[in-house]
């Protein structure tokens, strides 16, 4: 366990060192992320213009969901995406052999290969949005609510990571992955809206198949103090279930890996 923590720290340190070399990325990423966060708010302002509430969500509470979305997007682009996308190349070129030969868990190694430290800026944008939302609400979040929402953030990250592992595992079967990744990011974009806005089939899909609810809506509700304990527990169980499934699929997928000439 300690060894894995050390490996994680090492991976982080290397990524930060590499990140420091590209300081311009900091400026560019910063500007881009502020711009997109701002533009991304436009649909929300349009939706809530002259309208007090949609399915129980007001502008301020929906803003909290957007904040969680920003935060998760930062985690996805900064910590999950970069490593896992390199795996696809490694599978294609056969250089995954070098990873598999190392005396540590392969899933751990490929998941911690690369981080993009500058994406932490998305986290700052998220905090800005939270502050704005709670100013509109005219209160501060309770300490327990903050703790609860942080616990659910762990679940959200786990689900996001597991889905990505499933997408990457598909790379062992199909050669081209861009469209699967693109499909996922298109769906993920709807996580900026409270999941309870959707009805019917989409509500079921976004709760169970691609659980956007666990990713952004429930942490936001926890921060607002409106989440029931039952939903919180169920989403924890759901996140663990996703992790187990993705681990199983990954193990099967890696068993199919036949390497390529490299």
């Amino acid at each position: 366990m300690l060894r894995y923590l050390r490996l994680l720290a090492l991976g982080l340190r290397i990524s930060v060192t590499v990140g420091m070399q590209y300081r311009w990325n900091f400026v560019i990423d910063g500007v881009v992320s502020i711009l997109w966060t701002g533009l991304g708010l436009i649909p929300l302002t349009i939706a809530f213009h002259a309208r007090p509430a949609i399915h129980g969500w007001t502008f301020a509470t929906a803003l909290v969901v957007v904040g969680w979305f920003s935060l998760l997007k930062g985690i996805l682009d900064g910590a999950i995406n970069p490593s896992l996308l390199t795996v696809v190349d490694q599978i294609r070129q056969g250089t995954l052999d070098f990873v598999l030969l190392k005396p540590a868990d392969a899933q751990f190694l490929v998941s911690t290969a690369r981080f993009e430290p500058w994406k932490a800026l998305d986290g700052l944008a998220a905090i800005g949005i939270f502050v704005w939302a709670f100013r509109l609400l005219g209160r501060a979040p309770g300490a327990l609510d903050v703790l609860g929402s942080l616990a659910l953030l762990a679940c959200a990250t786990l689900v996001l990571y597991s889905i990505w592992i499933l997408v990457i595992a598909a790379a062992f079967w199909v050669v081209r992955l861009d469209n699967l990744a693109y499909l996922f990011s298109s769906v993920f974009d709807f996580a900026r809206w409270p999941v309870s806005v959707f009805r019917g089939v989409l509500a079921i899909v976004f709760t169970f198949v691609i659980p956007l609810g666990i990713m952004t809506t429930y942490p936001a509700e926890a921060l607002l103090g409106t989440l029931s304990l039952r939903t919180a527990l169920l989403s924890t169980v759901g996140a663990l279930g996703f992790a187990l499934i993705s681990r199983a699929v990954w193990s099967r997928a890696i068993g199919r890996y036949t390497s390529a000439s490299s």
Partner: protein, 271 residues
């Protein structure tokens, strides 16, 4: 080798290229299906905005209006989508582009045939949505006059060309960088927000609308959609058609130049 002989060869080869493209589209059904699923995102937008418009219309859009808008968006996206950027990135990186370069026809032309050949299949799959939209939701909006219909088709062709050429342009950057998908992601984010794909552009704040009209994104989705839903009529169509085709020409020239100078740097291996 004269330009006319070149052209004649392309015209002669194109039907065959289209047939090959169709065969490929049928062969790679799984990829096609994933792509189809991606382009159905307007249906999610539709569900979302219907919920918003449940109590009162948003701007001029009632639930029905949103339904018509997003179904039209779905159709336009299906007909004009291109994934050339991934294809180019992969073929440049793996070196398989050399096979295309050996053929006596410009690679962009073979790519375009591949892209166009898939469109009938995509259209067939979205036909139900088209029928619902035409017959049930906006029977009056569909352009009746042949002139308006012609303008609509021209706008769709223009939208596809802008898409295709920008994909080729961004894809050609992969000759210089190792991969240009990061730049493509940036384009995609801008496209989603500013093309009318997620939100009808007329709902945007007035201050932003001027900027949006000057940017290319609008001419890929919102412009053809607005012709087919009947929001844009008469002279406005002609003016915007001019801007759209200016973008087509600009993007086309940029793509061809970028591809040409990129190929010079290209040193294939494997294949």
């Amino acid at each position: 080798m004269s330009a006319r002989a070149d052209l004649r060869r392309v015209v002669r080869a194109y039907p065959t290229l289209l047939r090959v493209g169709l065969a490929e589209a049928v062969a790679y059904r799984a990829e096609m299906l994933v792509w189809m699923l991606t382009t159905t995102m307007p249906l999610v937008s539709l569900a979302l905005w219907s919920a918003v418009a449940e109590t009162a219309p948003v701007g001029r859009f009632t639930q029905r209006g949103f339904a018509a808008y997003f179904l039209a968006t779905l159709l336009v996206r299906q007909l004009t989508g291109s994934w050339l950027v991934w294809e180019l990135n992969q073929e440049i990186r793996s070196g398989t582009l050399s096979r295309r370069l050996l053929r006596p026809i410009h690679p962009l032309i073979t790519y375009s045939a591949q892209n166009l050949a898939a469109i009938p299949l995509r259209f067939a799959m979205t036909l139900p949505a088209a029928v619902v939209w035409l017959v049930v939701l906006e029977p009056g909006a569909f352009p009746r006059s042949p002139l308006a219909l012609g303008a609509g088709l021209l706008a769709i062709l223009g939208a596809w060309l802008i898409n295709f050429f920008t994909m080729a342009l961004i894809g050609s950057i992969a000759f210089y960088l190792e991969s240009s998908t990061a730049i493509f992601d940036l384009w995609m984010v801008a496209f989603m927000l500013l093309s009318g794909y997620l939100v009808p552009l007329e709902l945007f704040p007035a201050a932003l609308r001027g900027v949006i009209h000057a940017l290319p994104f609008r001419y890929v989705i919102a412009f053809p959609v607005e012709i087919f839903t009947g929001t844009l009529r008469g002279e406005a169509i002609v003016g915007e058609l001019g801007i759209q085709w200016a973008y087509v020409l600009g993007a086309g020239a940029a793509a061809i130049l970028a591809f040409r100078s990129g190929v010079k740097r290209f040193s294939a291996f494997g294949g």
